[in-house]
Symmetry: C2
Subunit: 334 residues, 2 copies
């Protein structure tokens, strides 16, 4: 089903992939065309399409296919497909066997099972980041049944985290934002503020960590109460502080029977759920409209924690970019 | 309530403590008298003692006191006492304020709430290691409801692990022993056997890790199926492979929504439960009787993974040791 792309969010994983920073686990195939927070209109439908009509406002998230018959897929958890889901970009397509290209483009073709309905009442541009950032927060919150009575910390207040704060609050939890940026300070816990961190020890039932690179988990684990659960939804690298050996301490896990878990994006059903939930609860990401030509500048700002909070590319701006320049993302020197 | 000590198991944590290897989190106060797998006879009872009579066969585990009124204590989880439990040795006593001395001794005084009944049918010497090693396996298995339908890996086949295998099996789980020792090979998975480890990927629902020092968790995490849970019950240090930066990978946690949790020993009620469970199911640790004078040799063998599987000091051997030599445990040069 061809889709005319209108908006595409800029996710930190786009930058990781473009820079080939996940080389060991998800190496980048160049040329790489990122983008997996895609909102567009159905351009045409074939005779077998049942869910959509031409002109429908639709979304595409992080996956465009999966085996669709394993235990995970049947449970609506295509992100944990035993045969691996087909990611929206940088993955071998199950049909063409070519490497998939993402949403930093004017059009794409996606099978209808992996296309979402953008509900009425959601701004199309603001809906884009829900397709990755939103569902990445939603999926673990549903799985670990976050709601009333829980005290939830959201660590890392960027594209994911600022959605996490809103969703957790709407689910009934008491929410603490945890950040390393003094500038984001306003009813939040700043990791470098030792007194505040110590005062908050053992105070949280859950932490959802969205930090996009390795960090010292111990600082956060100590904030958890007995049986507290910390869910890492950002970093895919070793959970340590840069080059220094700051692996999670057995001590901090054992003292309080704490849990450090991982979660990645969400399934297709969950993605529709969070779109509908955001529409119903009037939740939306704060977005900054970006012209395609400014993508490298946006990457730099995002990497430096300066995005407030999600850049979304306006595909109409594609017309201003010449075809050669459009692909010149800052990639690592080889 | 004074207890005449008959047997005391030798736990790896005795060695950690004697060598002050947990200096940052649980520094050792010298002189240090370890031992927290204690079986003995009640030597006398005061008028307020209600549970025991003189001559009863009893046990003392890792704790001798706690606040007894916090949420954790009221839930029977004194090991997670909010005000910290009083450990059997190397902790300030709540009554005398002196540092507690453990079971490498001929007698000790313990309040009855922290004294266990050794059930009929358990060999007194073999019962000793159940008081730490046994309950350290039992507590997480009860908490995470391990039983029929689960495929449980036990990583590290020493004092704790060999109890873990027996208990998990008696609870109805399918058990895989995981070891680094080729010599322990016999229906087990050897970590250095890459082909076997790869074949076992995603095959386990749970792993209980008893490895007593830092290790590379990633090798184990990959064995877990979707939503698999790995519980670290041994190492209290950073979960990494020695000096090398081998922290758990965000990738290995996220791909499969895996969990890395911690658990430490068990509560008093749980300790009585596991003693009774072992008696009922005819489970016992394999013990090697040790004379007090040979303790340093036993420490070395235990550290080198040569114990099969738990040394238990026979306190009758104390008579052969002169008082000066008995305290000369190998401690670090200061």
């Amino acid at each position: 089903m061809p889709i005319e792309v209108l908006h595409c969010g800029v996710c930190h994983s786009d930058l990781h992939q473009v820079r080939d920073e996940w080389h060991d686990t998800q190496p980048t195939e160049f040329p790489c065309l990122p983008g997996h927070e895609i909102v567009g209109r159905v351009a045409a439908v074939g005779e077998h399409v049942v869910k959509f009509r031409e002109g429908d406002l639709v979304g595409v998230g992080c996956m465009v296919d999966s085996c669709q018959h394993c235990e995970s897929c049947e449970a609506g958890l295509e992100q944990y497909c035993v045969e691996m889901p087909t990611m929206t970009y940088n993955a071998p397509d199950r049909v063409t066997e070519q490497i998939t290209f993402g949403g930093y483009s004017q059009s794409m073709v996606v099978r209808e099972e992996f296309v979402l309905t953008i509900p009425d009442g959601l701004d199309p541009e603001a809906a884009a980041p829900i397709l990755c950032a939103g569902v990445t927060m939603w999926s673990p919150m549903k799985h670990w049944k976050i709601g009333k009575g829980h005290k939830v910390g959201i660590a890392g207040i960027g594209g994911l985290g600022h959605m996490g704060v809103q969703i957790a609050k709407a689910l009934g939890a008491e929410v603490t934002a945890i950040t390393t940026s003094e500038e984001k300070r306003a009813d939040v816990l700043v990791v470098s503020d030792e007194a505040a961190m110590q005062a908050a020890e053992k105070s949280l039932t859950h932490i959802i960590a969205t930090i996009p690179f390795g960090y010292d988990t111990n600082a956060y684990l100590q904030l958890l109460a007995l049986d507290g659960i910390m869910i890492n939804c950002g970093a895919l690298e070793p959970l340590q502080d840069g080059e220094r050996a700051q692996a999670p301490d057995g001590f901090h896990l054992a003292m309080g029977r704490r849990t450090l878990a991982g979660s990645i994006i969400g399934g297709i059903e969950e993605t529709q759920e969070v779109l509908d939930f955001c529409a119903e609860h009037d939740i939306a990401p704060e977005v900054q409209t970006l012209a395609m030509a400014d993508i490298n500048d946006a990457f730099t700002k995002m990497n430096d924690g300066e995005a407030r909070y999600r850049y979304v590319i306006d595909m109409a701006s594609f017309a201003d970019v010449d075809a050669g320049a459009a692909t010149k993302l800052d990639t690592p020197a080889k």
